[in-house]
């Protein structure tokens, strides 16, 4: 009823190019922002803020980065967790050892990660599809090996770099709420930039490459440049996400936090959430970060009735079952479900 385009005239270019052309979308987005910026910090407990919302934002950011690469540019990468690790270690070293201020350190983590990512993106110039997937899988193992064995990076045999106390302009970021705001603000900023990237010329080039690369080349898209930019941007996002999650949540960079299963989970996030959508990155991250914890917590109710070894395995069974169920119900991802609902609502009450 309210959700329609009737009477919504696009009489200027600015209106035509708006991110949310439909008023209700705009209001909905503002409500979400108010929720995230004001309501959640006010009502949520420390546990919710620090171990549910912060990882959710960081993984959403990282999934969005992977979505740029896999969903928009069509270059699959199974080594994204390693780039998160690069960002995490780089920013911790910049901040902890060299005393560079916090925000430039996080940015630096992203830049180092982007540099490494561009290097590992080079094979994409020659190979594509499954072959590229395998070569990016190699990047995961190479990076992991280098971090563990390069003493200067990981501080020797223990392989761990602890996050020092954070400060911005002498203002300590010590409570979960403050860390939450740091993660949230950087996430919103980067997603805004990212959304505009994928709407612009670059994003259109990426989509052209994804849909048919030689056709894109014929119409004048510079394949090499744009593929490498996709790798750089995507790993930049991964690096920032990695450094944010270590600073705000883990508290120490340890290579076991970024092992290959995390890379698989990231791929899962964008497939379940929806390839090539921003909403999908959030839904997918929610699915992979929040759902196992929700299942785990709700199973706690049966703790006295069911033996605990069965109980712990049920979590994996339910979660796996839900993944399969979702892929059957909506193979194009959760974002597509939302689009279907939206299309229905536009035509309501006279759907055809």
């Amino acid at each position: 009823m309210f959700y329609r385009e009737c009477g919504n005239y696009k009489d200027t270019y600015a209106k035509d190019m708006a991110i949310f052309p439909i008023p209700l979308d705009r209001y909905g987005f503002i409500v979400m922002l108010i929720l995230a910026l004001i309501v959640i910090p006010l009502i949520a407990t420390d546990y919710w803020i620090s171990s549910i919302m912060i990882p959710f934002y960081c993984f959403a950011l990282s999934a969005f980065g992977l979505n740029i690469l896999a969903g928009y540019a069509g270059q699959i990468s199974i080594g994204h967790a390693a780039f998160m690790a690069v960002g995490a270690y780089a920013s911790l070293i910049l901040y902890g050892r060299y005393g560079i201020p916090l925000l430039p350190s996080i940015l630096g983590g992203g830049i180092v990660s982007a540099a490494v990512g561009t290097f590992f993106g080079l094979p994409a110039l020659r190979i594509k599809g499954f072959y590229l997937a395998i070569s990016t899988l190699a990047s995961q193992f190479i990076i992991q090996w280098v971090i563990v064995h390069w003493r200067w990076v990981s501080g020797g045999v223990f392989g761990t770099v602890e996050a020092p106390d954070m400060q911005i302009f002498g203002w300590a970021l010590d409570t979960p709420v403050r860390k939450y705001y740091l993660a949230l603000c950087i996430m919103i900023l980067l997603i805004t930039i990212g959304k505009n990237l994928v709407r612009g010329q670059l994003g259109r080039n990426w989509m052209a490459i994804r849909d048919m690369d030689y056709a894109a080349e014929i119409i004048g898209v510079n394949l090499y440049r744009d593929k490498l930019i996709a790798f750089a941007v995507s790993t930049f996002y991964a690096g920032i996400a990695g450094s944010l999650i270590t600073f705000c949540y883990y508290g120490a960079a340890n290579i076991e936090e970024f092992h290959v299963m995390v890379s698989f989970a990231l791929i899962g996030m964008i497939i379940i959430g929806g390839l090539g959508t921003i909403l999908g990155s959030f839904l997918g991250a929610g699915f992979f970060v929040l759902l196992p914890i929700a299942i785990n917590q709700s199973l706690g109710a049966f703790m006295d009735v069911v033996p605990s070894d069965i109980l712990s395995n049920i979590e994996a069974i339910i979660f796996g079952g839900l993944i399969v169920l979702f892929l059957i119900v909506e193979p194009y991802g959760m974002a597509r479900l939302w689009h279907t609902i939206k299309d229905k609502m536009r035509l309501w009450p006279f759907p055809y």
């Binding site: 563990v148 045999v157 602890e162 340890n254 290579i255 299942i295 169920l325």
Partner: protein, 455 residues
């Protein structure tokens, strides 16, 4: 229609799970108000994933012990209340579990995972929760002056490795007492350190290298990449090229079994392989079948059901059908490790009760108690754990306490004790620990505590 039905089903499941979460939380709140205060113990364990054998064994042994104490009326009348949190040996999940249990005033956190321990060390300092890692994690945390909130009693990897070298010397004919002539027996001996190539596996490299220099050993490291299912090339190297005299098996989980099979294939004697205590359980050797016979592994506690403590658990807890694991695993290596975890926690709580009065102990009081732990030979006999555990005494400077290691051998059916308690090269290990801890303190800007001024 089908799609709609499935979707509705899914929505219902999600909705139901959320309702249950909130309902459970509310119910828990109500219960707490009614009952007498209980000592809350969080168990960060793993019953799923590749290392489930370790996590489930330790967790269940620990729970059974608390169950037994609760049946006997608790610790000085204070009951235990425990909660499991499944980490699947995954660092991120472990941190989530820690955050979940943090606000419920846990007595301490014992995550049974080196990776999670590393992540929790700085958090424990901030939240004033002791982080305990019994037989894993950082060895240098034994220096309590630097690591105020971390404890690694009864022993750690570096102590273990000096004990291993001592055991190897004994097998070469050393009498086990005179440290002055140990070098004579070790000189030129080739030791292959077969380790899994993650931070946990690399932890003993520095001390082995150092001992190699000291005693004229030839130590070479053979890294196995995670998860270590395939070790063919390493074994080819160890047996054909390096011609090792002894192999130290420093793997974890599934990769522990592989060396036994490979050694059998290459004809390398199994009684020349010496495993870390995380490669010394029934679950590690049984899959190898007859190939495992003769294999040595280290341990820091007794195995089997032949102890009054374990018998009591079997009688009372399993007699009342309140056990937490299948009965066949009671008395296995990991299970007993869980029981001694429970015993040391219990003793620490009693120590704290003596100092602070009988009440629910919080993290800070527990830290004091863990630092003043004194489990004597007589006390162990009184508990009924003679032979199950070693006496230990912690202090402000020494967070290791015991340090002794025992070697066990697999006879094809069960683990049999193959050596007496071997004490590590204490001064030498302590020296290494202090050096490493000092380096850590310098990096982190930690002021060393002056132990003469701490009560």
């Amino acid at each position: 229609m089908g799609r709609k039905l499935m979707f509705t089903l899914f929505v219902l499941v999600v909705a139901a799970s959320f309702v249950m979460v909130s309902g459970q939380a509310m119910a828990a709140d109500k219960e707490k108000k009614k009952e007498a205060p209980k000592q809350y113990v969080p168990l960060l364990i793993y019953r799923t994933g590749p290392f489930a054998a370790g996590g489930s064994g330790i967790g269940s042994g620990w729970e059974d012990f608390m169950q037994l104490r609760n049946m006997q009326g608790g610790v000085n009348g204070i009951m235990y209340e425990w909660e499991e949190c499944e980490t699947a040996y995954n660092v991120a999940r472990g941190i989530e579990c820690y955050e979940r249990v943090k606000s419920k005033k846990p007595v301490y956190v014992h995550p049974i995972s080196t990776g999670i321990t590393y992540a929790l060390l700085p958090k424990g300092v901030k939240d004033h929760i002791p982080i305990v890692f019994e037989g894993y994690g950082r060895a240098d945390a034994a220096d309590g002056r630097v690591f105020k909130w971390a404890f690694n009693f009864p022993t750690h990897y570096w102590s273990q490795n000096t004990a291993k070298i001592k055991f190897i010397a004994m097998k070469q004919g050393w009498d086990g007492k005179n440290m002055a002539n140990i070098g004579k027996y070790l000189k030129g001996l080739k030791i292959a350190n077969l380790h899994i190539d993650v931070p946990y596996g690399q932890e003993t490299k520095p001390i082995l290298d150092d001992m190699a220099k000291k005693y004229g050993l030839v130590v070479r490291h053979f890294p196995v990449s995670w998860p270590g299912i395939d070790q063919k090339s390493q074994w080819m190297d160890i047996v054909r090229r390096f011609k090792a005299d002894w192999v130290i098996n420093r793997n974890w989980g599934v990769s522990c079994t592989v060396p036994l099979k490979e050694a059998a294939r290459m004809g390398f004697p199994r009684n020349r392989i010496l495993g870390v205590w995380w490669c010394g359980s029934e679950e590690d050797v049984l899959p190898a079948g007859p190939a495992a016979k003769g294999y040595y592994a280290t341990n820091f506690h007794g195995v089997g059901r032949d102890f009054p403590m374990i018998k009591e658990i079997v009688d009372k807890v399993y007699g009342a059908m309140k056990g937490n694991i299948s009965f066949t695993r009671v008395g296995s290596v990991y299970y007993n490790r869980g029981v001694i975890t429970g015993i040391t926690m219990d003793e620490a709580l009693r120590t704290a009760h003596k100092k602070f009065g009988v009440k629910v102990i919080n993290g800070e009081e527990m830290r004091w108690a863990l630092e003043h732990l004194n489990i004597t030979e007589e006390r162990i006999k009184e508990i009924g754990a003679e032979g199950l555990m070693q006496p230990m005494k912690t202090s402000c400077a020494d967070h290791e306490g015991g340090g002794m290691v025992r070697i066990q051998q697999w006879d094809g059916q069960k683990w049999v004790v193959a050596s007496d308690w071997i004490s590590p090269m204490k001064d030498y290990v302590r020296d290494m620990v202090e050096k490493s801890a000092a380096k850590y303190a310098k990096e982190k800007g930690i002021q060393l505590r002056d132990c003469s001024k701490v009560d």
